[in-house]
């Protein structure tokens, strides 16, 4: 258990700290997905989740935070880029689905989208 959280302002931060921020975003996203009834809220949750993941990728790739040979290098950033692009694509599709759903159900309440329930 190597905890070096002593004083955040005078010590350098590490990947772990970024990951905690990522975790917070991730969790908020999950909670958002789980609690919002508005489809767009769910979408925002997804965005938050992806962002949380991105933070991790960036942090692991950052040479500022880790020693030589320990970083993910440019791959982190590249993967983050792909995530961003895919997120944009996903957002577009989700919005389209939402619109479609709205057109058929007259609402964006995903609790009404339970036609396939068991």
């Amino acid at each position: 258990m190597n905890f070096l959280l002593a004083n955040l302002l005078s010590e350098p931060v590490g990947v772990a700290h970024y990951m905690v921020v990522g975790a917070v975003l991730f969790t908020c996203g999950i909670v958002c997905m789980a609690t919002k009834r508005n489809a767009l809220g769910v979408l925002m949750g997804v965005e938050l989740v992806l962002n949380g993941a991105n933070i991790n990728l960036i942090a692991m790739g950052s040479p500022y935070l880790q020693g030589e040979n320990a970083t993910l290098g440019l791959d982190g950033q590249l993967m983050a880029l792909f995530v961003i692009v895919l997120a944009a694509a996903e957002a577009a599709v989700l919005l389209a689905i939402t619109l479609n759903f709205y057109n058929s159900a007259g609402s964006v309440d995903i609790d009404q989208a339970d036609q396939l329930r068991g």
């Binding site: 350098p12 772990a16 905690v20 975790a23 991730f26 909670v31 599709v93 919005l95 939402t98 619109l99």
Partner: protein, 191 residues
Amino acid sequence: MHWPSFFFLLFGGFACLFAVAVVLASNIVRMAFYLVLSLAATSGLFFLAGADFVGAMQLMIYVGGTMVLLVFGVMLTSQSPFVSMRTSSGQMLTALVLGGTLLFVLSFTAFHVPAWQPTHRPAVDPNTPLLTATPIGMALEGYRVDQLDQPDPRIRQGMSGYLFPFIIISVHLLVVLVGAAYLARAKRRST
């Protein structure tokens, strides 16, 4: 005062704060607004971690593009501008508890991997700017200029390039856009 840490706290704090605000807000537009702020703060973190290009991408695509799409959706889908749909507090609590546990597990793990702990001797001094745009561009075209000193020739010669994924993503994006446009096309409701 260690400036990167200070800015990390600043941006990280904002990102977390607004992410929480997204969860707590009940109005969809406000949620969107907080989300933008959170994402903007995240891009600040990216800049801080030396990923200028990704940070700018983040601002551009998420903050600019995605958010506008979202708000667009809000305008089109809500019956009235101030609609909010309440979730039952029970489900909310379940989500919070599970989420809290998840957060705990994630943070706990983060602090238990030795390689992820703060170091006083990073690979690159945080005051030195990194130039990543070109290498990223090259990597997307299949050339890893950052891997030139790799001993493994296969990696050096571009096996670690991202040309193929890039193409796939591009095609995927195209398909998605077409598909989205198709899905979202205006239909008259049957009744």
